[in-house]
Amino acid sequence: MPDAIRITNLRKSFKLGFIPRRKEILKGISFTVSEGEIFGYLGPNGAGKTTTIKTVLGLIFPDAGTVEISGRSHLSPRAREELGFLPENPYFYDYLTAHEFLAFYADLFGLARKVRDGRIASLLKLVGLAPSAHLQLRKFSRGMLQRVGLAQALINDPRVVILDEPLGGMDPLGRKEIRDIIVRFKEEGKTVLFTSHILQDIELICDRVAMIVDGRIVSQGKLLDLVSERVLFTEVTVAGLEAEALAGLGECLSAQGGRVLLRVFSEENVERVLRAADERGGRVVSLIPRTETLEDIFVEKVRQT
């Protein structure tokens, strides 16, 4: 089974400014998205996430490199028929209703009317917009536009769904709904590639990730492989003791209201803190070990570049 998306050595420069100066955005991007997985594409602002996505969709033409969708050239019409795309900050024809808008796009795929209407109804239900089917898009809130954008990405029941910042601008409940929808795609056998800089969302649902910093892939692979289980430090809150009593065992983050919060960096020091509390009549309120998160890796990689 060919990879859903295979990107090889993508390069792209733009000439920006009044006196055109060449700015290299993509400096040789390569990664693959396997069939049926949820792939997270992350990086800081301006790293080249959106440029990569737009190249895959044929909106931007690369200077070098190839993109294949299920083994076919990304520009072939067959490849496009299997794709669904939701851009960042989507904006659609505001004078159309949700139904008219989806019907227009359905017509571009040549869907028969009956199939079309049925699919529109089920998609609107899926994204939670069924009551707004005949409301003009100009009256939609940002979150609603995002949802209808998701619906239009699915109008052709694509095998590969590409989403650029799908969770941006949504409230926490909305974000959960979208995450659940994405997971459902995976269960239906679809492949999902999405970009985000909300790292918790990526951690929650992605199978594999790639990290792009300053036009280069600095890290890619299974999420589980990248994020180790190693404990970085432990945050211990102790009540009934003075901060000085625990000095030297860890970093004192705060000492207020009779409670001391310590960041302790080694297992032995944690033991010592516990013993100190026990000996001097203090009480351990909480003990929270912190493992390495994606954010830690991310910040580290960005700092390295």
Partner: protein
Amino acid sequence: MKVGAIALNTFKEAKRDRILYLLFFFAAGAIIFARILAMLTVGDRLKIVKDVGLAAISIFGILMAILMGTGLVYKEIDKKTIYTLLAKPIHRAQFLLGKFLGLVLTLFIMTGLMGLIFLGIVFAHSLRFEGRLLIAVLFIFLELILITAVAILFSSFSTPILSSIFSLSFALIGHLSWGLETLIKKLPSPAARAAARGLYAILPDLENFNFRTEVVYGLPIPPAIYLHATAYGLVYTAFILGLAVLVFRRRDFI
């Protein structure tokens, strides 16, 4: 039919544009004003009505074609509605063609309405239905088709203001090029004459669509010219659209 879907959508968008109705209102106003203006003349009043009416349809039609055409593609790019559209399995040429046809449909309806009002005013004046005037209106419409294609061409790579200026220049040059024909005879050197003749062949000759003199004065029109003028207009339009596709094909949408 994908092009048809885009054309219909463009039509829906165009008919919401307030500029269209503003220009239509002014055109209708001008045609009605023609009747009042005609009262100032000593002599043939109907001629004034016909001249002002046809000029109004022409001027406002061109303004409609330019003002709407230059925004057509630019708006899609600027508002980013084009991203999801081009991600679908359509050729960029189909997109441009759909936009073009949608605007042509809008202009057809507008020109038709203006033409009807014009015929109505002429009828009110002379109590005669002068069907021949429709020939002039039809060829004004053909001119509008060509100008729309030019507006779309510029709209695919330039801002609306610049596109409007370029398109207007095209229209103006199109009405000047017959002057070039007279100039050719006066040039001293054969090389200059050959160059001028070449230029004359390339530059648009929009006077080919100007039948106002014949229609107002009841002069005969040789039937061959109908076919030739129409073919010229359509082929030039196809050429311009081809240029637009060429420009648009490999454009990056940052």
